[in-house]
């Protein structure tokens, strides 16, 4: 009995799961870079935008696998230029992060936090609209290309007008409701924030992401975060649903549970 068929099968299998790495910068019919694809960051910005060493988990019994990993930070210049009273508010939020971080309640991440949460997001592009679907809390954003309208009301994901500046897609985000945080360390901006995002191709499989945050009620000057986005190249990758509501119910409503009853026994393994 020859072993050839096994080898052939193995080769076929390998071919079927070949990563979908692009070799040329994709462009849309109108000549602009095609930002379509599934992207994700590969850093610790979701823990803390500023440079940070490793730290204890928010609950000690969570142990090392939920400890805070170290990271060089993504703030250009290193430190967020808080006004003194705003820095105190950031520190207060850090102390209360277990109870107050909206991520723990399955609330939409807002902008720019949704970009660097540790979950994939998908950009879909045509000449009039660019839409982004974020896995966390199934958040969705529509960016009006060359849009001029102002936000009619505040929202979690804000109001986004985009324009092309050469090969860079620039998005002005206003109308944020100020209820989101910027990371798990209590960094924040208020509802007065104006965010300018810049998406620039670094190559076929990488984007440079920049967000400049202007909010004179919280910061002494505008400041910028910068980080690469990595294309997910797994074959036929889909952004699976992360409907996080069930996992936040006990946290939000547990105190209203009928005395003597227990939450659902453990997490379902589905």
């Amino acid at each position: 009995m020859t072993r050839l068929p096994v080898v052939a099968f193995a080769l076929l299998t390998a071919a079927a799961v070949e990563p979908q790495v692009l070799t040329e910068l994709p462009r849309a019919a109108n000549g602009r870079p095609d930002l379509s694809g599934v992207w994700q960051t590969l850093n610790t910005a979701h823990w803390n935008l500023e440079p940070h060493v490793s730290d204890y988990p928010v609950l000690l019994e969570l142990g090392a696998q939920f400890a805070v990993p170290p990271g060089p930070g993504v703030v250009v210049g290193g430190e967020i230029p808080y006004l003194p009273e705003a820095r105190a508010e950031r520190d207060r939020r850090f102390e209360n992060r277990l109870a107050d971080d909206p991520e723990g309640k399955c609330y939409m991440g807002g902008v720019p936090r949704s970009t660097y949460m540790p979950y994939p997001f998908q950009i879909l592009q045509n000449e009039r609209d660019i839409v982004i679907y974020y896995q966390f809390a199934t958040a969705f954003r529509r960016i009006f290309v060359d849009g001029k309208e102002e936000a009619p009301l505040d929202s979690w994901m804000g109001w986004s007008n985009g324009r092309w500046d050469g090969d860079t897609f620039v998005v002005e985000v206003t109308g944020l409701n100020g209820l989101t945080w910027l990371d798990r360390a209590g960094n924040y901006a208020s509802g007065n924030a104006r965010i300018t995002e810049r998406y620039t191709p670094l190559g076929p499989n990488h984007l440079q992401y920049e967000a400049t945050i202007e909010d004179p009620t919280v910061f002494s000057r505008p400041w910028t975060i910068r980080m690469p986005l990595y294309r997910i190249v797994d074959e036929d990758f889909r952004v699976l649903e992360f409907k996080c509501e069930p996992y936040a119910e006990e946290k939000i409503y547990g105190h209203l549970r009928k005395p003597g009853t227990e939450p659902p026994a453990g997490a379902s393994s589905r």
Binding site: M108, N126, V131, E245, L256
Partner: protein, 319 residues
């Protein structure tokens, strides 16, 4: 064709529509697919199931339509008419906030029901297995409905509205959806639903699917029609008591500048002895859909549970 005032105009429009279809004058995207993009109202005058008095009659006569539609359009929650102590009595008035589904724009629809198959326009009865599943679920909740958040409905928990998952059906309010397209994808988002990112790049449904609340969808173009196949539903979603093995086929095509046709078929031998389905128009909205943040503003859940705790306390204190 929106809110037709005369049937003559409607009939004329219908004739024009069919001519246009023949001439293939529907808009195309920059990359050549039929263009379905826009925001649409799902409201229609046809009820989901047909009144049995119509038998197998699919369409109203034109002289019957006005009265039929008028009855439908007058159905509305009205806070003035509610009975004290009922849920309707404490719910805000849908009419007051222009939320009632029948205040949305709609197209002429002479159908007597959304359901068209089986021919009686009625959803087939549940199989014995489906009845058993439904009863077991109800029994597991009985007497515990207010114990904790996990005992409440998926809608109250902001997990999913059964009518925004495929197949999409009109619902009591916010009965709208928007469609985006990009090369290789169609995106459908119900106002209160999750975005469905539907690939049209030729991929097929895998044999093994992870359960998803909205299922997993693949799409393809058949001429002017966008066809979506969906399977792999979450077992707890139990759409109309269906099992996780339900499969849904949706077909969307443009009828005219303001109207799409939405057709669906569901198949689940564990739940219904035969597949069933229907069709209704989607009518273009002039406005935009805005963000629907459900769990972020879910005061209802806290109020329901704290109300139940207060009621228990009150009952315990009674002599």
């Amino acid at each position: 064709m929106r809110k037709p005032t005369t049937l003559a105009a409607a009939a004329l429009a219908a004739a024009v529509i069919s001519l246009c279809a023949e001439a293939q004058k529907h808009p195309r995207t920059a990359w050549g697919d039929p263009d379905l993009t826009g925001a649409y109202s799902e409201f229609t005058t046809a009820p989901l199931e047909r009144d049995p008095s119509y038998g197998e009659r699919e369409f109203l006569r034109e002289d019957e339509y006005e009265e039929f539609a008028k009855r439908r359009l007058e159905q509305r929650f009205d806070a003035d008419d509610t009975e004290p102590g009922t849920q309707e009595d404490v719910h805000y008035s849908m009419g007051q906030f222009a939320l009632s589904e029948n205040e949305g724009v709609h197209s002429l629809n002479l159908r007597t029901s959304i359901v068209t198959q089986p021919k009686n326009g009625r959803i087939p009865p549940l199989t014995a297995a489906a009845v058993a599943r439904r009863d077991a679920r109800a029994a597991a909740r009985r007497g515990k409905e207010f114990d904790g958040p996990e005992m409440r409905s998926l809608t109250e928990r902001c997990i999913i509205w059964s009518s925004t998952q495929p197949p999409i059906l009109p619902r009591g309010y916010n009965s709208n959806l928007q469609i985006f397209q990009s090369p290789g994808y169609v995106i459908i988002q119900g106002e209160m639903g999750d975005p469905r990112i539907i690939p049209t790049d030729g991929r097929t449904l895998p044999d093994k699917l992870l359960p998803q609340w909205n299922g997993t969808s693949v799409g393809r173009w058949e001429g002017e029609t966008f066809v979506i196949e969906t399977a792999g539903f979450h077992p707890e979603s139990a759409w109309r008591n269906a099992s996780e093995n339900m499969r849904v086929t949706e077909r969307i095509r443009r009828l005219d500048e303001d109207t799409l046709e939405y057709e669906f078929m569901v198949s689940d031998p564990d739940t219904w002895a035969e597949p069933w389905g229907g069709v209704y128009p989607l009518t273009r909205l002039d406005g935009l859909l805005y963000e629907y943040a459900c769990t972020e503003g879910n005061y209802g859940m806290a109020n329901i549970l704290s109300g139940a705790r207060a009621a228990e306390k009150e009952a315990a204190e009674e002599p």
